[in-house]
Symmetry: C2
Subunit: 267 residues, 2 copies
């Protein structure tokens, strides 16, 4: 996609959450024009708009109508609720959402050019990510829009795929396990260490190696620890230590059982 083309696709962001902030910045830095940012709160709208040299509004009725691409990145429940207002007056433009969990059909019958642009990554406002390695999953109602979205995503990433709504839903669910639940394990680790007056940093080499391992071993092959060895002595000692932490104890018990079961039943 050549430089002039990018300028021909002025973009509006509906939503200014973690994903929107990261995606808008990456598009802006790659030469795209971000015309406007909408967010419910002035603080978010303004903050993102300033970063990407765009205007901002907090009222959906004030969203400009002459953009080429509207990237809608808001909470799932908000999208359903605001859908009618979002599409209103934007015939001819391409409207996409960025949610793994929402089918493309949510747009159906509301507008003619629509699709999904789903970058599968964990985004935080405080942290820049390397877009080059982020898988983008694309879907659109019309073939030309699939190609357009692919071209746009390819400016940012080397990994652009087509995926239908069913596949994207599965990817999103899997990503909750791979990322959100994994990060929660780090949260529980940090909580335990804090209780014992030990610094979280001491765990980073272990966390890094655990992630690196599954680049070369399957997760089942990579599994270590008392549960996969069924070392009941250790498991019981750990459950004792967690006696006054009923929730953490329950998580420990359920995950240990699941680890052992996968080990037993692996082909």
């Amino acid at each position: 996609m050549i430089k002039q083309d990018k300028k021909k696709i002025p973009i509006v962001f509906i939503g200014a959450g973690n994903l929107a902030v990261n995606l808008a910045q990456a598009l802006f830095c790659s030469g795209f024009e971000i015309m406007q940012v909408y967010s419910r709160t002035e603080e978010s709208a303004k903050s993102l708009a300033e970063k990407v040299n765009a205007g901002w509004v907090t009222d959906l009725k004030e969203v400009i109508l002459n953009a080429s691409l509207y990237i809608v990145s808001i909470k799932d429940s908000a999208l359903t609720e605001l859908l009618q207002q979002i599409v209103s007056g934007k015939d001819g433009a391409l409207l996409v959402h960025t949610a793994g969990s929402i089918p493309m059909s949510v747009w159906k019958g509301k507008t003619t050019r629509y699709g999904v642009l789903y970058p599968m990554q964990t985004f935080s406002k405080q942290r820049e990510v390397n877009f080059k390695e982020i898988p983008f999953f694309i879907e659109a109602a019309q073939r030309e829009d699939v190609e357009l979205l692919k071209a746009i995503a390819s400016v940012l990433s080397d990994k652009v795929f087509e995926a239908d709504s069913r596949q994207r839903r599965s990817l999103h669910l899997a990503a909750v396990f791979a990322c959100n639940f994994t990060n929660h394990m780090y949260v529980l680790t940090a909580d335990l260490l804090k209780k014992y007056g030990l610094p979280f940093e001491v765990m980073l080499p272990l966390i890094d190696e655990t992630a690196r391992k599954v680049h070369t071993l399957s997760p089942l092959e990579a599994q270590t620890g008392p549960a996969v060895r069924y070392d009941e002595n250790v498991i019981n000692k750990h459950l004792e230590i967690l006696a006054d932490e009923p929730e953490m104890k329950e998580i420990y018990r359920i995950l240990s059982e699941s680890i052992y079961k996968y080990k037993l039943c692996q082909p």
Copy 2:
């Protein structure tokens, strides 16, 4: 520690599991002499012994008595069971175990020079790890042996700490969450993706970024996803998809509740 000193501490490994294999190889490659390897099975004993140019036995009674350091790295329950045989005839030598979960006091009254050498990492036989960044936690009954173990560990790693049995037990429990349970999240991810005909590799950028994030953000700050946003629409859709996977569904439910609770109750 100078080269001659290393040669003055001939080592015997009791056990040839993942940790023993990695530690023995690292010590051997750093110039230490591994005299002998004991393992219950000939296959493991021989395989490790060949790698580190050592003799091997499968009968504890045949373990040589003139080594300076015995590194005992066997399942917790086996250690308790075999303790008497392990110490037998080795007065004067230093005996250490490598288990996070076993107190040093397990040796007490059985021999005079004893301790613990605990490298906190996930070890697999198929994979070499970088020992330089692995935290070693040291404990010994006698001050001179603390210093000796520190000197030995410092040859391998830049991160050598003293830790008593209580601290080590806490570290080990935290490591189960940071590593074993995290890896199980990867197992569940792989299982889901397989079911949908999607390759596990597509998740690696997300897994890597999730691990990298907690180098600069606290795990609580790093948390993203439907549970922390309390996006009930998405959570309910995911629970529906998991309807025929009762165990995975239960794990999803419990971890989502825990994520949301940590968010609510964070200071």
